[in-house]
Each structure stands twice: as structure tokens, then as C-alpha cells.
């Protein structure tokens, strides 16, 4: 009896929020850690932004969550026909760090682990300092996937460089190979390890994190599959991020939800990529920190 209850309970756990549900967080599922099913119809869920919300049970419906092997398979294939790109407008960034917070929540990272890191940059002695959010560049010629001995990190057809931490052997060759310092390692038990024990691994969010394996920015591939923007993009209060599909030539601003032509944004904004001369062909483009919306508040580097 106890067991059966538990099974039913687990079923409820594998549920997703209906459209009428709480504050549009589609990742509620992937990040919910525990459901307190009380006698009534209320249920407590943890959202990706770390809030506890009470949800009516009737709003939950069973979801078709793929098994681990299915998840790994579809995670390797990517989203057909898509070609994801990100544009970061440096003139808008004022180091609010909401992107970093949302990212760490989504991917269950320790405070010192950054999939996206807002750096204070200064290109030359007399040039102006600026803030530069730096996610994984999702290179089209990725140095990291080349060196992986077990194909645990790989390039998907939609352009995302993903990690399978069920396969990673922890040799850290990819960290050595990445010129953007985009990768982090789980040197210890990951954050909240006990809490997520037994939760099925989701390759597209790389959660739960695993001790002794690599993690890095995945463009929130799990959210993309649900038709949502990556968590850093939608968390930004200042309109720094544009994200979209190169094949459609459309990128959407995470803050204003405005959609523009990707090629036009690049050409009009004089976009560039980081360390172009290394030949890594990044998928993350930067618009220069010109006509700053905010004064630079950091220390001079």
C-alpha cells in the first residue's frame, strides 16, 4: 500500500503545469524537487527561479517524460531544422547578474560555478571598461568536443554543444581545450546533491549535476525544446540578450520580447565574435559597448 501510494506520488511528480498554471515557468518540471501532496488539492512546487508556489492539483497533468536513454538520444540529436544563435548587446549590460542567478538556479550550480559569467573587460589601456556576459560560445568548430575521448560532449545539429554527464569520465581535457573558459567541473558533490538523488538525469539541462563530471552552458536546451527562451535570456532586466534561430533569421529579445531580423541586427550593430582569430566560429555574437545605456559601475580592471 505504502509502495503504491509512492508510485502514484511519483506519477504526480512527473506532471507538468497546464497553460493556466503559474507564472510561465515551463522549467517548473525539470527543476521541481519535491511535491508535498497534501490531502487537499494544493501542491507545492519549486520554480526555476527558486520560489515555492502552491498549485492546484487539477492543473497538473501527467507528462510524457522521456526515459534516460530516450532523453539522451533526443538530447544528442537536437531540435531538427533549428540553428540557435545568441546576440549579446554590451551597450545594455549594467552587471545586474540576473542572468547568472537564473542560470545557477536552472542548472543547480554552486555559487562559484558559472555557465554564464559577467566579466569586467577592458580591451586596451586607454579604452573604456565594460561588462561582458560570457556564456559558452557554442562554437561551430568546437575545440572542446574534438578532444573528448568518449564523445561525452558533442555538437548537435541545431548548433548546441551539449554534455552527457552520464558518460563523462572527468578527464577535463575539454576545460584545457576551451579558450573561453566556458566549462566548469564538479569538484565536489554538486549543490543539493541529496535533494536530487534518484531524479532522472536530464541531458538538455545537465541536471542533476554529477560529482566528477563537466558542466557548462547549454543554451537551456530543455527550455528550447518547450519553445521557451534560455533562462539567462529571459531573466535579464536590461534587454541585453537576443536569442533565436539563424535559419529563420529571427532573434527575440529576452526582456522586451521584441523580435528582429538576426542578420540586420548583426550588420547594423557592427556585431563581432570573441577571439575570431582562433577559428572557433562562435554562435554567440556581441554588439559593441557603444552608447552605453548605463555608466560603468565596476572597478577599473
Amino acid at each position: 500500500m505504502e509502495n503504491k501510494n509512492r508510485r502514484n506520488f511519483m506519477k504526480t511528480l512527473l506532471a507538468s503545469i497546464g497553460a493556466a498554471g503559474v507564472a510561465g515557468s515551463s522549467s517548473i518540471l525539470s527543476s521541481c524537487d519535491r511535491i508535498e501532496a497534501v490531502d487537499g488539492d494544493k501542491i507545492t512546487l519549486l520554480t526555476s527561479s527558486g520560489e515555492l508556489v502552491e498549485v492546484d492539483k487539477s492543473q497538473l497533468k501527467p507528462a510524457e517524460l522521456p526515459s534516460l536513454s530516450q532523453n539522451q538520444k533526443q538530447g544528442r540529436e537536437g531540435l531538427p531544422g533549428k540553428s540557435w544563435v545568441m546576440v549579446i548587446d554590451l551597450s545594455k549590460c549594467r552587471n545586474a547578474r540576473e542572468c547568472m542567478k537564473a542560470c545557477q538556479n536552472h542548472h543547480q550550480l554552486r555559487p562559484e560555478q558559472h555557465h554564464i559569467n559577467v566579466l569586467q573587460m577592458q580591451d586596451a589601456e586607454h579604452t573604456a571598461p565594460y561588462f561582458m556576459p560570457k556564456p559558452c560560445q557554442h562554437c561551430d568548430n568546437p575545440p572542446c568536443t574534438k578532444v573528448c575521448p568518449v564523445n561525452a560532449t558533442f555538437k548537435r545539429e541545431d548548433g548546441i554543444v551539449l554534455i552527457d554527464n552520464e558518460r563523462c569520465i572527468g578527464c577535463r581535457f575539454c576545460i584545457a581545450a576551451c579558450p573561453y573558459s566556458a566549462r566548469v567541473f564538479n569538484w565536489f558533490e554538486p549543490r543539493d546533491a541529496e535533494k536530487y538523488e534518484g531524479v532522472t538525469y536530464n541531458i538538455e539541462a545537465n541536471v542533476p549535476q554529477k560529482k566528477g563530471t563537466i558542466s557548462k552552458c547549454l543554451f537551456s536546451a530543455d527550455l528550447l525544446r518547450d519553445g521557451k527562451l534560455p533562462s539567462c535570456v529571459s531573466a535579464c532586466p536590461n534587454g541585453v540578450y537576443w536569442f533565436g534561430d539563424r535559419n529563420e533569421d529571427a532573434v527575440t529579445n529576452g526582456t522586451t520580447k521584441e523580435t528582429l531580423s538576426f542578420s540586420k541586427l548583426l550588420s547594423e550593430g557592427a556585431a563581432y565574435t570573441l577571439m575570431k582569430d582562433l577559428g572557433t566560429e562562435p554562435r554567440v555574437y556581441y554588439l559593441p559597448a557603444k552608447d552605453r545605456a548605463f555608466p560603468f559601475t565596476g572597478e577599473q580592471v
Binding site: N117, L119, K134, V147, P149, V150, R167, S181, K211
Partner: protein, 451 residues
């Protein structure tokens, strides 16, 4: 060599050689026991450290997200380097017909086996998930230099073991026939089994000669590969300090320096401990000293290329790295390594006095230490200087300092390799008896006579 006259004289002489060269096996004293006790203790402590590391995660080391390779990888490169002495001494020298190399080739193979085996072990100890080692075979990607490294390192180990074992077979037969009550029965049984029924007929010798010759040739490309591929683990990345086209030969020559120094030290230890003054004699040390100067000169040439050319240009990222080495945090270590590891041996060993056993061995100790620190300097400073600034992480992410657990595991690797050499010396002669006797003009027929 001149033939020896009477059978009595031959027998007498062979008896002497046999007694001298099996002393390492027969010798039983407090010092031996104490030595093995020390070795096993350190091995135990190191294994305990590894258990801690597996339990708590690689975070018990000083490595973090920026300096993500540390002592273990430096140690790995060091071990691969030292193991190359097997290639140099027991293959290159023999193929070039330097007969003095015969006497020292078994000691060289001991070093090769012990160090390349440990290189394999230390790399597993560096893994975040050693439990997934099999993934390398299940999901191995041939585009990854790690898979190349694994392939050549295991092949090199296999060939080195064969190169140790095959010339040993006649010796095993000699020991089987002559050891009698000098060793316990189980040891005698091991010799009997391993001797593979050797009876010393000409066909058997022909097979041994042929097999050894094939292995000597085979080991050259494999040996060059292991260190070249190891250098590619670094050179295949874009990082300043590693992004170099001469890393392959630079590492190989550096390996010859380290290996030669290690062999000189081992020769000196054997000479002292097992009374082999007449076997590892001044002549051998003189030759080894000259060899060390030669490889050091070539290494100097590569070092000048590796540092002077980028230092002339001072490209931005490269410049940061070089300044750190030349005059920054690593300056002391860097100049120590260049002077004690390269310049000093070149200058000193050219003087005859310093090619005597003791002075040469002392210099070799410095060379070997420098060789280890050289690997440290190759691995760590580069990782401390990524292209983008290191920010928003705790202070200890910026700089690397090994922890005690890491040092325990490193000591494990040193002591285990010394343990392997000690066990090999305890079981098998450290110089090939039959080759040596033959060199001295003793006829083969005396080898298999029962004493």
C-alpha cells in the same frame, strides 16, 4: 672479445659473474626489509589518499576550474618522459652497435616498465570518474589525443615488458639450473616456469636474437609516439604556452634527458648496493655522462626555440605567460630548471672528473629533479593564464597550490615505481648474465652447466 683459454678458467669466471649478478636476488638483510617496508608504507598512504579523493571528489586537490590540471598531469608527463630511456638505451644504442649499452639495458628496461606503468595509473587517478574508465573502450573517439595516448602507452608497456623478458629467458634458465638452495623453492619454480624449457641450443638463441631485434625496431616508433602524443595533449589546444609546433620533439628530447639521468642514478645505486663496481664501471658512467651532455645540448637547442622565438614577438597572451616564467611568480623555478637541468650538466660533465660515478650521479639527481619541475612548469602556469580574465570565483581559483592529498597520491606514484624496480631487482639479475659473460669471452656451453 678474446676467447678464454681453459674450461676451468671459463667456469671460474662464469661462477664469479653469476655470483655477482645474482647478489641482488640472494642478498637478504635488514636494509632490504626496511626498504620494502618504507616503500609499502608510502604506497599505502598514497592509496589512502586516493580513497579520500574518490569519496570527496577531485576538490580535495588544489585544482579548480581554471587550473584544472595539476600535479597528476605533470607527474604523468614526467613518468612518460623517464620511461623513454628504455627506447634510448636498449634499442637505439644497440641498433647503433654501442656494445657498452648491453650492460645497462636491463636497468633501462626496469625503469621503462616501472615508469610507464605508473604513467597509466596516475592518469586514472586524475580522472573525475575512474569508475567509468571502460567508457574509453566503449565510446572511444579516435579523434581524441587521449585515445591515441592510451593506445601507444599500453603498447609501449607491452613491448617494454617483452624487451625485458625475452633477453631474460636464458638468464632464467641459468638461475633455474644454478640457484639450487640459494632461493626459496617457490622462486625457483617461478624461474622454471618463466624459462620456458630453455636448454641453450643454437636455434633458441637465434629466436631470442631475432625477437629482440624485431622489438628493438618496433619500440622506436612506439616510444617516439608515446611522448609525442603526450605533448599533443597540450599542443592540440589553443592556449598560450602550449600552442606550439615543436612540442613533440621538444618533449622527446626532454625525455631523453630525464631518462638518462634516472638511469645514471639507478646504476649508481646498484653499483653501491650490490657491489657491482666492476660491472657498472667508470667506463659506463663516462659514456653515460657523454650521452647526458649530448641530449642536454639538443634539449638546450629546443628550449631556446621554444622560449626565445615567442619572447621575441611577445604576442599578448603569450607575453603574459612568458613574463610570469621569466620574471614573475615562476621565475625562480624556471631559472632553476634551465640552469640545474640543462646548463649545469652541459658545462660540468664535459670535465672528466664529473663523469666519475659519484659526481655524475649527484648531477643526475639535480637533472632529474629539474626534469620534474620542468613538467610542472609546462602544465600549470599556462592554465593560470587563460585568454579571458578569471573573475567571480573564490581567490584560490586564481592560483594553483597542491594539497596534501595530492602530494600523498604523487608520492604513491613515485614509491610504486621504485617498488616495481626493487621487486624486479629482487627477482631478476640487474644485468643480463649470459650477454655479459659472452661479452667477456665465455663460451655459451658453460652457461647451462649445473654447478
Amino acid at each position: 672479445m678474446n676467447k678464454i683459454e681453459s674450461p676451468e678458467e671459463s667456469r671460474k669466471k662464469f661462477d664469479r659473474i653469476f655470483t655477482d649478478l645474482t647478489r641482488s636476488i640472494v642478498k637478504k638483510d635488514e636494509l632490504t626489509r626496511f626498504w620494502f617496508f618504507i616503500l609499502l608504507m608510502f604506497i599505502g598512504v598514497g592509496l589512502w589518499g586516493w580513497i579520500i579523493q574518490i569519496d570527496k571528489g577531485l576538490g580535495v586537490t588544489g585544482m579548480r576550474d581554471y587550473v584544472s590540471w595539476g600535479l597528476y598531469i605533470a607527474n604523468f608527463v614526467f613518468f612518460v618522459a623517464v620511461s623513454l630511456v628504455g627506447l634510448l638505451i636498449s634499442s637505439v644504442l644497440q641498433l647503433l652497435n654501442f656494445s657498452w649499452g648491453k650492460t645497462i639495458s636491463r636497468a633501462a628496461e626496469q625503469i621503462a616498465i616501472a615508469t610507464v606503468a605508473l604513467a597509466g595509473i596516475i592518469i586514472v587517478m586524475d580522472m573525475g570518474r575512474p569508475d567509468r574508465l571502460l567508457n574509453v573502450f566503449l565510446h572511444g573517439r579516435f579523434a581524441s589525443p587521449i585515445v591515441w595516448d592510451l593506445t601507444v602507452v599500453s603498447t609501449y608497456l607491452a613491448i617494454s615488458v617483452l624487451l625485458f623478458y625475452i633477453p631474460l629467458i636464458p638468464d632464467l634458465a641459468i638461475m633455474r639450473d644454478r640457484m639450487g638452495s640459494k632461493v626459496p623453492a617457490w622462486k625457483l619454480k617461478i624461474y622454471t616456469i618463466l624459462a620456458l624449457g630453455w636448454n641453450g641450443n643454437p636455434q633458441q638463441y637465434a629466436i631470442v636474437y631475432h625477437a629482440v631485434r624485431v622489438l628493438m625496431i618496433l619500440i622506436i616508433p612506439i616510444g617516439l609516439s608515446i611522448h609525442t602524443v603526450t605533448s599533443w595533449l597540450f599542443a592540440a589546444t589553443l592556449r598560450p604556452g602550449w600552442d606550439s609546433t615543436i612540442f613533440g620533439p621538444y618533449f622527446v628530447v626532454g625525455a631523453f634527458v630525464a631518462g638518462t639521468a634516472a638511469l645514471i642514478i639507478l646504476m649508481y645505486v646498484y653499483r653501491l648496493r650490490y657491489g657491482l663496481k666492476d660491472y657498472f664501471d667508470d667506463f659506463h658512467f663516462d659514456k653515460m655522462g657523454r650521452l647526458l651532455v649530448l641530449v642536454c645540448l639538443v634539449y638546450l637547442y629546443f628550449n631556446i626555440n621554444e622560449f626565445l622565438v615567442p619572447a621575441y614577438k611577445m604576442k599578448s597572451a603569450e607575453g603574459v605567460h612568458l613574463k610570469d616564467l621569466f620574471s614573475g611568480a615562476y621565475a625562480f623555478l624556471f631559472w632553476f630548471v634551465q640552469i640545474a637541468g640543462i646548463a649545469l650538466p652541459i658545462v660540468l660533465i664535459r670535465i672528466k672528473y664529473f663523469r666519475k660515478p659519484l659526481p655524475l650521479s649527484i648531477i643526475s639527481v639535480f637533472v632529474l629533479f629539474s626534469a620534474w619541475f620542468k613538467r610542472y612548469l609546462i602544465v600549470i602556469p599556462t592554465m593560470e593564464h587563460p585568454f579571458l580574465p578569471v573573475q567571480n570565483v573564490p581567490e584560490h581559483f586564481h592560483h594553483y597550490a597542491p594539497t596534501s592529498t595530492e602530494i600523498m597520491i604523487m608520492l604513491f606514484s613515485f614509491f610504486t615505481s621504485i617498488f616495481i624496480i626493487s621487486v624486479l631487482a629482487k627477482f631478476f639479475p640487474v644485468i643480463t648474465i649470459w650477454e655479459y659473460a659472452e661479452e667477456k669471452g665465455i663460451d655459451r656451453k658453460y652457461f647451462t652447466e649445473k654447478s
